[in-house]
């Protein structure tokens, strides 16, 4: 476990805000998100669809799609601020210091170039290697990610690989210039269930061997429980709870997390389907005042309707919930027409 606080953080995200200007005003899609990732640490990120997980990841790799933009806060990698770098500066960091893996291995590779060419091109973009050296490195990487017969496969094209094999190639591409951090956004969602565990195990093993930290976005609580050191639970653009994985899974502090963990998750089960909480996450345009979770919360009090909780200490974790404040949730809310 690499989550000890004596390591200086590899990645620091502070008060990150991501917004979308629209005709009907500005949507705040990521609202005041802060977290750290230590070197070599795996941070799991979970939350319902639309919670802002991908936007947070894209903001870190500097690839928010316009008109989305970082509206506030800062992102630091190894102490250096990276959220306001010019495109060209950030490009040199992407792939070299921060790698990324996306959902769909079938479409992440350019169909017209051999996997070897795509590897060599990435390696040579970031490392001062000759073509021959880059090819050797590419070959080693393919072997490392478990492509059988790598010597003959290196010149094959993406369509000649199965989905699982393609995702292995994608992992090799993300790792090929030796990044310190990998942002993996639902890296197995598009894959066959039988292959998902293998790919996650591979990612975990490689990152441990290379000392690479991972921000692992997933819907799969089983994957989180098995892979992550810490976990951040996102809700409506904010972090609801963050802490060591065992504590969050076994002793959830936020009512939303408790709902998520309500049934013991087994591998391959997605949070969407096991959500035991009534109602749905509010749309960005209609986030309630006070705690964003309050319409669905069974433990809310008067205070939750008016005051927004920030992350606060809750045992070994931190949770954004008044239950963990000395002031509490305030007076109970009288049920009136709730069960209509």
């Amino acid at each position: 476990m690499a989550s000890q606080t004596n390591n200086p953080p590899l990645l620091e995200v502070k008060n990150l805000r991501v917004e979308f200007p629209t005709r009907r005003g500005t949507l705040l899609a990521v609202d005041d998100v802060s977290f750290d990732i230590a070197p070599g640490e795996v941070l799991g990120v979970v939350g319902e669809s639309g919670a802002g997980k991908s936007l947070t990841g894209n903001a870190i790799i500097g690839l928010l799609e316009p008109p989305g933009r970082i509206a506030g806060g800062e992102i630091r990698l190894e102490g250096r601020r990276i959220d306001n770098l010019p495109y060209e500066e950030m490009r040199k960091i992407r792939g070299a210091r921060i790698g990324a893996i996306f959902q769909d291995p079938l479409t992440s590779l350019n169909p017209l170039y051999s996997v070897g060419r795509q590897l060599v091109e990435t390696i040579q973009t970031h490392l001062p290697l000759s073509a021959a050296e880059a090819r050797t490195r590419a070959l080693d990487l393919l072997k490392e990610v478990g492509i059988p017969g790598a010597e003959s496969r290196i010149d094959h094209y993406p369509h000649q690989f199965s989905g699982g094999m393609r995702q292995r190639v994608v992992i090799a591409l993300a790792l090929c210039a030796g990044p310190r951090l990998i942002v993996a956004d639902e890296p197995t969602t598009a894959l066959d269930v039988s292959i998902q565990a293998q790919i996650i195990a591979l990612l975990k093993r490689l990152c441990r061997e290379h000392g690479t930290a991972v921000m692992l976005v997933t819907h799969d609580m089983g994957v989180i429980a098995e892979t992550a050191d810490r976990v951040a639970v996102m809700y409506a653009g904010r972090i609801a709870e963050i802490g060591p994985v065992r504590d969050v899974v076994k002793h959830a502090k936020h009512p939303y997390t408790k709902g998520l963990m309500g049934s013991i998750p087994s591998l391959g089960v997605r949070t969407e389907r096991l959500t035991q909480i009534d109602g749905a996450m509010p749309r960005l345009t209609e986030i309630p005042t006070g705690c964003a979770f309050n319409p669905r919360c069974t433990e809310r009090g008067q205070r939750c309707l008016v005051e927004r909780p920030d992350l606060m200490a809750a045992g070994t974790s931190r949770a954004a919930c008044w239950l963990h404040d000395r002031g509490g949730v305030g007076a109970p809310i009288v049920k009136e027409m709730v069960d209509a």
Binding site: R94, P111, Y113
Partner: protein, 330 residues
Amino acid sequence: MLAFILRRLLQSIAVLLTVGVVAFSLFRYVGDPINAMVGQDTSMEERETLREKLGLNDPAPLQFLNFIVNAAQGKFGLSYRTSEPVGRLILERVPATLELSFCAAVFALFVGVPMGVYTGLYPRHWSSRLFQAVSLIGISLPTFLIGILLILVFAVWLRLLPSFGRGETVQIGWWTTNFLTWSGLKALILPSITLGLFQLTLLMRLVRSEMLEVMRTEYIKFARARGLTNRAINFGHALKNTLVPVITVTGLQLGALIAFAIVTETVFAWPGVGQLFIQSVQFSDIPVMAAYLLLIGLLFVLINLTVDLLYFVVDPRLRSQGGSARVAGH
């Protein structure tokens, strides 16, 4: 892959035979070839012997066979209008049309594709919007009008370029070329622009929309995540993925250029096969028309074959292990 090429070859032959049937029918059933060949005072017996000698009394399939065999050797008989062998008549004019079409295609490709890339990469930039607007004009103005406008501006007002003819040409074997004299090159400019403008705007709009689409794909996003340079992404990854449709359209348009050279050649009095065709239509010069049809058919088929082969060069999905059978099936 070999099977694929063989199949395409067979298809090409079928297409050519169909064009042959049309050309033959023109020959045989539109007007009476004998009437066209002999004078008013020729007797019925003489006509009948001529008919027999020319094989016009043979059964139609046999005549068709003869026609095709002759056509394959470039023998189309004599022109009704000039009494010269049709093959030679056409051959004399082929270089003019091919050189004009070639220049128009080069103009369309080398201006249209970069403009498409640019407008696709920066769709919101004011210059992209300007290109788009201008291209709409290019697409909607008829060719002859563009030609006349160009003549008006560059030949009549500015007196910079000639408005008709090929200028001086140089003979190389049976081929006459514009490329080796100053006046020949100048004469090419206006007709090439006129002929290529429509194709240029078409290519630009095609590349633009393909570029826009490709830039949205996951592999471009992933290429960015890998930190590749913009240059590598735009011209290596994105442009290459737009190539298949660009090749298709360029190929088809090349055929169209040669076929539609008719209008441009008429406007600029360009002595090519298109102009010859217009003259033959006016004189009902059936042998020339039939030969022209076959020639255009042959060019289309050759271009299509080339395009098919280029697909294999560009797209590995078509090339690999038996993939040809799978993909060609769609």
